[in-house]
Amino acid sequence: MTGTELLPGASPTVAALAVLGVVVLEAGLLYAGYGVLEDRLGPVIFRRIAGR
């Protein structure tokens, strides 16, 4: 899916900004999502590694 497909009929600048917006949103969500995962699983993984 390209910016043009995301917003059919939009100007190239708007389509490019929409792509950037989607990527920033994805990056933010993934950062937060993996952050929660890290907080929950991090200590367990660290204990496992230390215990080996």
């Binding site: 899916m1 390209t2 910016g3 043009t4 995301l6 190239p12 600048t13 389509a15 490019a16 900004l17 792509v19 950037l20 989607v22 990527v23 920033v24 994805e26 990056a27 933010g28 993934l30 950062y31 999502g33 993996y34 952050g35 890290e38 660290f46 204990r47 590694i49 230390a50 080996r52």
Partner: protein
């Protein structure tokens, strides 16, 4: 979901794994995105504009994630990064003009190819030599030292390479105070930024593999701050590149999303590892990887000149294989460091 992204499940999984590897590099070294992703997409048969545009957008997204992670540990010098971005943007313009001039002479491809190989080899040698010297000098410290102290942004004179100390000794005003307390001449920062931009624009690459060493060796920040600041600068320049390609409508969001899914995790692990892993343990492998990359790029160029696609595929395997090896080394040393640290009783 796969239909929405326009990818088969197999390709989606491949991109996620590949993104993870690139993310570890990005988080740990502050570089390593475009020179791995673009050739991979080209080998998979994507048209060059889609490969470059999607790669640049992915690098932008990963830079956002890795910068956020480095921000948490205070390893980003935003003022230096923003200032460098201006110089880099001007340098890129200059570099691209040189390429156009060479193109008119009909020698652009050959000159750029040779320059790329030489730059990769030179930086690889610099890293390898520095790591070997660091090992020799730092053995005693490593025996009783705590690895986390070394990459946590300490800014004693021992952390600054000799070449940077030499450059810093020329105190040509105006001077700028860096986030880690060091000072650097604005002339040095402008020169470094312009030079990095020139190389980036000339070679047509993101330039992280030039930017980070330049910040570390010439401006003279700690390695951790150089990585964080390089990422922030990459975020700004990647954003501009993604916008430009986005306007042309050639960014494939499916590829970017799949790669980001893997790189977001990899970047967290890579960034986190900088706080545990002794730099010298991994830097030498990175130097060797850049040396192998220079051979791979040389083979790729030779493949184009000799019209031998098999040689091109071999160069890609060499590039990805060496990158995989260094990625595994970072994870291995990270696990060892965590084990060492957690096994040591806390000191009073």
């Amino acid at each position: 979901m796969f239909g929405l992204l326009g990818l088969t499940p197999g390709l989606f999984a491949l991109f996620v794994v590949f993104g993870f590897m690139v993310g570890v590099f990005f988080g740990f070294f502050g570089m390593g995105g475009s020179f791995l992703v673009t050739p991979a997409l080209l080998i998979l048969g994507y048209p060059a504009p889609v490969a470059i545009g999607s790669s640049m957008t992915f690098v932008f997204g990963t830079a956002v994630i890795a910068t956020l992670k480095h921000h948490d540990t205070g390893q980003v010098d935003y003022r230096l990064g923003a200032l460098m971005f201006v110089g880099i943007a001007l340098g890129i313009e200059g570099g691209s003009r040189i390429v156009f001039a060479l193109e008119m002479l009909g020698v652009a491809e050959a000159v750029v190819g040779i320059a790329y190989v030489l730059v990769l080899a030179a930086i690889g040698l610099l890293f390898t030599r520095s790591a070997l010297n660091g090992d020799d000098e730092g053995d005693d410290e490593a025996d009783d030292g705590d690895a986390s102290d070394e990459s946590g942004g300490s800014s004693g004179d021992d952390d600054i390479p000799a070449i940077a100390q030499k450059v810093q000794s020329y105190n040509i005003p105006p001077m700028m105070t860096l986030a880690d307390g060091q000072t650097a001449s604005l002339w040095t920062i402008s020169g470094v930024s312009g030079g990095v931009g020139l190389i980036s624009g000339f070679l047509g690459v993101g330039g992280g593999f030039v930017r980070m060493p330049a910040i570390y060796y010439v401006i003279g920040t700690s390695l951790a701050a150089a990585v964080g600041t390089s990422l922030f600068t990459g975020l700004l320049s990647g954003g501009v590149g993604a916008f430009t390609y986005g306007r042309a409508g050639v960014i494939d969001l499916g590829i970017v999303t799949a790669l980001l899914l893997g790189s977001a995790l990899g970047a967290r692990i890579g960034s986190g590892a900088t706080a545990y892993v002794n730099e010298d343990d991994v830097t030498i492998y990175f130097g060797i990887m850049l040396l192998i990359a220079s051979v791979a790029v040389a083979l790729g160029e030779a493949a184009a000149w000799l019209s031998m696609p098999a040689l091109d595929q071999f160069s890609f395997v060499l590039l990805v294989g060496s990158a995989l090896f260094v990625c595994a080394t970072i994870l291995y040393h990270g696990a060892l460091a965590v084990r060492r640290e957690r096994g040591t009783p806390p000191s009073a």
